[in-house]
């Protein structure tokens, strides 16, 4: 998932649609994110490329909507409802995911196993 600035990046992505769950007043997705361009990418345990400042799924709550939708720990979120998540601050990503007026978020995520699967399919 590393990229050279200015160069297009190709990634194998999966579309995941999560319906938010209403908990009291809050709409929750049931996962947590780490990363962002304002964070130290070196501390991201999930990225292969330690300069990757993308948004990663750090935890997925058991039985939560995200898990049901197939989101996995370590997934890199590429887009949220069409918004790019590869060059955003942590907070921007969080806000984008927690819009009160959106009940559904559509993610494009990439993960290593996806790419491996595709690679294997090609062999």
């Amino acid at each position: 998932m590393s990229f050279i600035p200015g160069q297009p990046v190709t990634a194998v992505v999966q579309r995941i649609e999560i319906c938010k769950l209403r908990q009291c007043d809050n709409l929750i997705l049931g996962f947590s994110i780490g990363g962002g361009i304002d964070q130290d990418p070196g501390q991201n345990p999930f990225s292969e490329d330690k300069t990757d400042k993308g948004i990663y799924v750090t935890r997925v709550s058991k039985g939560g909507p995200a898990e049901a939708a197939g989101l996995m720990i370590g997934d890199k979120i590429m887009q949220v409802n069409g918004w790019d998540m590869t060059m955003v601050t942590h907070d921007q990503a969080r806000k984008r995911l927690t819009k009160k007026n959106e009940d559904v978020v559509r993610l494009l995520v990439t993960r290593k196993s996806l790419e491996d699967a595709v690679r294997n399919a090609m062999v």
Partner: protein, 988 residues
């Protein structure tokens, strides 16, 4: 293949069911058919041995599904299989419609072979289906063991079959009576040898098996290839006429050839060549058999009857493979030999299956999927290869939709960042074909074609853009935009237009064809603007979609095409309103660093250029004082604008508190003779209404995007230029809205172009006397700090244009204001000015500095203090010539203050920055979402690069205290080295 089988299982089941139902209907139809056929029976010269009832029934179905007008042509298409005699019979017939029917009935068994090829990367699935219609000319329906259905049921992997076996398959031969002989004759001339199986006859026996192995479901509807595909995707049926059209241009040239015997003979040779070119036996099998179907359009014509039956059949079969040759003699051999199956790509049941399998991977499908299938085929058959470029381009004209779309998709991939391929595509005449596909009714076809065009249109090679334009690609794109509601297609269309719009000569074409459509279809809906706002609902926000970004980028480019383009855009209904609404929404949401906002601001800026001259009715607002000499303008204006409000010189506090002094400000408005508005402003009038000042100032305050900053400053610069009522009002409004400090702060920007635009804006604003005083007092230091000291450039290393702009602004504010001149001296500017005047490498800088020095020296009351600092008259005299004096007196009034005055005097307009405001041309290459081999990664391409470019400088900015803004997210970028923040982790 296993993969294919798996995927097609479901579809097979489904189609079997469907077919059972159909059989019922068909058996009913059969009786009727028999009656019709009986007429023909007498006429039939050849006994048909193999006719399947079912197939007949199927045929009937085909007919039923076609529109009545198509029946004839369908019948014709079936003919190729006919023998000579049969055709003759028809001729003898008085031409009653029934004769056609007889032809139809003659067909029975159908064999098909399907081949699937998936190109790498783009999920190009090429499917070849070969069908054979064994004929019973008389059409006695007669289900026998050898009927196609029988063979279909045995699904045998074709690869395990020996060619020879197929050839000898009894069913196959039995279906061919005399017609068979004819074919053999033609083959006889060519060395058949091991390649016998390529002959038609082989196909009969052979195909069913192979086909069965691929997808059994398809086999049941086989007579007519198109029908087969329609079975899979019912919507296909309507594409039939189009296929004809598409194909006809390719196939037609063959018609004249049809009658000649020579041709028949020569063709077999080509035919033979194939096996060599294509080693893949799967491919080599099919080509001939499909032909008849391809040629429908040609053969349905009356002249076809005059052709001998044998020739006829032969032609029908041949054309596809040689079609390349007819089309383009140069490529003919290539296409013909290497890619014989191209023409044969019929419906692609397999392709569908592939798609289905990929669907699980979702959009990355193209990416992930694009490799696997081809890799798959490579594994299965090491001899498999990718089609080369001419082949791919030829496939664009293929009658079968999936082939077209896959070819286009593959082309898109090939063209990705490969200028050489793009050029080649152009030379191979691929562009008109792609443009033609834009009007194709099927989404995947026009989508893929558009994707290919977007990649082709991208880049510095303008010839590609011109090629698209020359085949009416722009109207076609616009049509597609109007027609489609598919977001992805819209993105592609607008992306292509954005690319095209970067080339000067195409701008007006885009305006002529697409301006109103782009506005109505994209800009207005996505901007959230509503023509008649619903009082109850709150205004909608703009949506920063890719479509909007692309479209605004396109309009941004075309808006720089001169006065006429500006006029068209201004007068385009709803455009200005929508853009303003979008920007206001951006400001409201504090979301203004994106590309769409940048594009919108740039359009606004360009449209604001020369409003005071170009807008209809502008003359009504011209200030009578405009033609006066600058010296006398100042006081007058002062009187006008500031009457009573800002009488004396303001303190610094007042400067910053102006906004609060509403009472005063209101009063100052009153003193301006504003035209009374009877109805709400709309359209281009909005461009120069004082309300926009606040919008631009918000952008200048909040945005971190240099392009946006530059454009917003440029808009103010344009609006405050000129001598008409509105610019007076704008100048006062900027002051009232506390815009001057905002602008002054931006003089410290690290971006050269921002500094330049701001400097010129300040110069225009200082035409207002009050502004001049304020700017002189508070901006002088920042202006001077942008000047290079002698040969040493300042840290920012501003461009010549910027330095000249700053000098011109200084000149403007010290002219007629000894107070400002004093500020200049206090800012230690004289030393810098003298240094520039004496040592600068740039003549323009030298001159501009010289004018400033002269202006300073002209304040006699300052000479004493200047002398004390060690300056004397010689420092203030022009070093070059004394021309300066003369030119200064010529200095035109402030009629066009977007032009730095000095430059104008020198007749050197061209190089000056202010002059070129509309130049804000975005090279789409830097930004456009272009291409990607697959659309999935588009979110990564353009955005990332531009974001990086724009954000990187933030590190520097944040070191400058003045420039740190609270909303900058960049704090951690700077701090990372010192503090390692714990990774943040937020539940969402």
């Amino acid at each position: 293949m296993e993969e294919c089988d798996v995927h097609s299982t479901a579809s097979i089941l489904a189609s079997v069911k469907e077919q059972e139902a159909r059989f019922e209907r068909l058996t009913r139809a059969l009786e009727e058919e028999r009656r019709t056929v009986s007429l023909q029976l007498e006429r039939g010269t050849l006994p048909s041995t193999a006719s399947g009832t079912q197939s007949l029934a199927w045929q009937q179905m085909v007919m039923q599904e076609q529109s009545p007008s198509n029946q004839t042509s369908l019948a014709m298409m079936q003919e190729p299989q006919e023998i000579v005699e049969e055709t003759v019979t028809i001729e003898e017939d008085p031409g009653t419609p029934t004769s056609h029917v007889s032809v139809v009935t003659s067909d029975d068994g159908t064999t098909r072979r399907t081949e699937t090829k998936v190109t790498k990367m783009v999920k190009t699935v090429t499917t070849r289906t070969v069908r054979q219609v064994p004929l019973g000319p008389d059409g006695v329906p007669f289900p026998e063991g050898s009927s196609p259905l029988g063979s279909y049921t045995n699904s045998i992997d074709r690869r395990f079959m020996k060619n020879g076996e197929r050839f000898s398959t009894p069913q196959a031969t039995s279906t061919l009576t005399r017609s068979y002989n004819n074919y053999s004759d033609s083959y006889g001339e060519t060395p058949e040898g091991p390649y016998r199986h390529y002959g038609l006859h082989d196909g009969y026996g052979d195909l069913p098996d192979s086909y069965g192995s691929l997808s059994r479901g398809v086999n049941y509807r086989p007579r007519y290839p198109y029908m087969a595909s329609s079975g899979y995707r019912p919507e296909n049926s309507y594409t039939l006429p189009i296929r004809k059209d598409d194909y006809s241009h390719v196939a037609q040239p063959q018609v004249p050839l049809g009658g000649t015997v020579d041709l028949n003979r020569s063709q077999p040779e080509r035919f033979q060549a194939e096996p060599y070119g294509l080693e893949d036996d799967r491919r080599s099998l099919g080509p001939d058999d499909d032909e008849p179907y391809d040629l429908e359009s040609d053969y349905s014509t009356a002249n076809r009857r005059t052709v001998g039956g044998a020739n006829h059949g032969r032609h029908m079969r041949e054309p596809p493979r040689v079609r390349g040759g007819y089309e383009d003699p140069i490529e003919a051999d290539l296409i013909d030999d290497r890619h014989p199956y191209m023409p044969n790509l019929y419906s692609a049941p397999l392709a569908q299956a592939e798609l289905g399998s990929l669907a699980s991977l979702d959009r990355m499908g193209p990416m992930g999927g694009r490799r696997s299938p081809s890799a798959d085929s490579v594994r299965k058959d090491p001899r498999w290869r990718d089609p080369d470029l001419p082949e791919v381009i030829a496939m664009l004209g293929h009658p079968v939709d999936p082939v077209k779309s896959n070819a286009a998709a593959y082309l898109q991939h090939l063209c990705y960042e490969n200028d050489k391929v793009k050029k080649e595509v152009r030379h191979l005449k691929g562009v008109p074909l792609l443009v033609g596909l834009l009007d194709h009714p099927r989404p995947e076809v026009h989508r893929k074609a558009c994707g290919a065009l977007r990649n082709i249109s991208y880049g510095r090679d303008h010839d590609n853009k011109v090629a698209i334009k020359n085949c009416d690609g722009i109207p076609a794109l616009i049509r597609l935009l109007r027609k489609t509601s598919d977001m992805e297609v819209r993105e592609l269309v607008t992306g292509t237009l954005w690319n095209l719009s970067s080339y000067e000569p195409l701008k007006m074409v885009i305006i002529n064809h697409g301006l109103q459509t782009l506005t109505n279809e994209v800009i207005i809906p996505h901007s959230g603007w509503e023509q008649e706002p619903n009082e109850d609902s709150k205004p909608r926000d703009a949506e920063w979609t890719t479509v909007f970004k692309n479209t605004s980028g396109c309009l941004r480019n075309v808006s720089s095409d001169g006065a006429e383009a500006r006029r068209r855009l201004r007068e385009c209904e709803g455009l200005v309103d929508a853009l303003l609404h979008a920007l206001q929404s951006a400001v409201g949401k504090k979301d203004m660093d994106n590309k769409s906002v940048e594009n919108c601001v740039c359009i606004m800026r360009n449209l604001s250029y020369h409003v005071h001259k170009e807008v209809p009715g502008a003359e009504k607002f011209q200030e009578p004082s405009t033609n006066q000499a600058p010296g006398s303008v100042g006081p007058q204006r002062k009187k006008k604008d500031d009457a009573g409000c800002f009488g004396g010189k303001k303190t610094k506090e007042e400067w910053f508190n102006q906004g609060r002094k509403n009472g005063e400000s209101e009063k100052s408005y009153d003193t301006l003779d504003l035209p009374k508005r009877t109805e709400p402003t709309k359209g281009f009038e909005l461009l120069y209404q004082p309300e926009v000042v606040r919008l631009y100032l918000s952008l200048l305050t909040e945005s971190q995007n240099y392009n946006t900053l530059e454009a917003a400053a440029g808009a103010l610069q344009n609006l405050s230029a000129g001598q008409w009522t509105w610019s007076n009002y704008i100048r006062a409004t900027v002051r009232k809205e506390k815009g001057l400090p905002i602008l002054v702060e931006l003089l410290r920007s690290d971006s050269d172009k921002v500094v330049r635009a701001v400097a010129i804006a300040l110069r225009n604003l200082s035409m207002d006397r009050r502004n001049k005083d304020l700017i002189g007092s508070y901006a002088m230091r920042d202006l001077v700090s942008n000047l290079p000291s002698g040969q040493q450039r300042p840290a920012k290393n501003l461009e010549e244009d910027t330095v000249v702009a700053v000098l011109n602004t200084i000149h403007e504010i010290v002219t007629d204001s000894s107070e400002n001149a004093r500020s200049l001296i206090q800012a230690q500017a004289i030393e810098k000015l003298v240094a520039i005047n004496r040592t600068s490498q740039s003549q323009r800088e030298t001159k501009a500095a010289s004018y400033v020095l002269q202006a300073v020296w002209s304040h006699k009351e300052l000479r004493n203090s200047l002398a004390k600092d060690g300056w004397n008259k010689t420092h203030f005299q022009p070093t070059a010539t004394s021309q300066a004096k003369g030119t200064r007196s010529n200095k035109p009034a402030y009629d066009d203050t977007t032009l730095p005055l000095m430059e104008k005097n020198q007749g050197n307009k061209k190089s000056i920055s202010g002059d070129m405001i509309p130049m804000d041309e975005l090279d789409p290459d830097g930004y456009s979402t272009i291409d990607q081999k697959d659309k999935d990664c588009k979110y990564k391409s353009g955005d990332v690069s531009s974001d990086l470019a724009e954000r990187e400088p933030l590190k520097n900015d944040t070191n400058r205290k003045q420039f740190v803004r609270t909303n900058r997210p960049a704090v951690n970028l700077v701090d990372t080295c010192d503090v390692k923040p714990q990774p943040v982790d937020s539940w969402v």
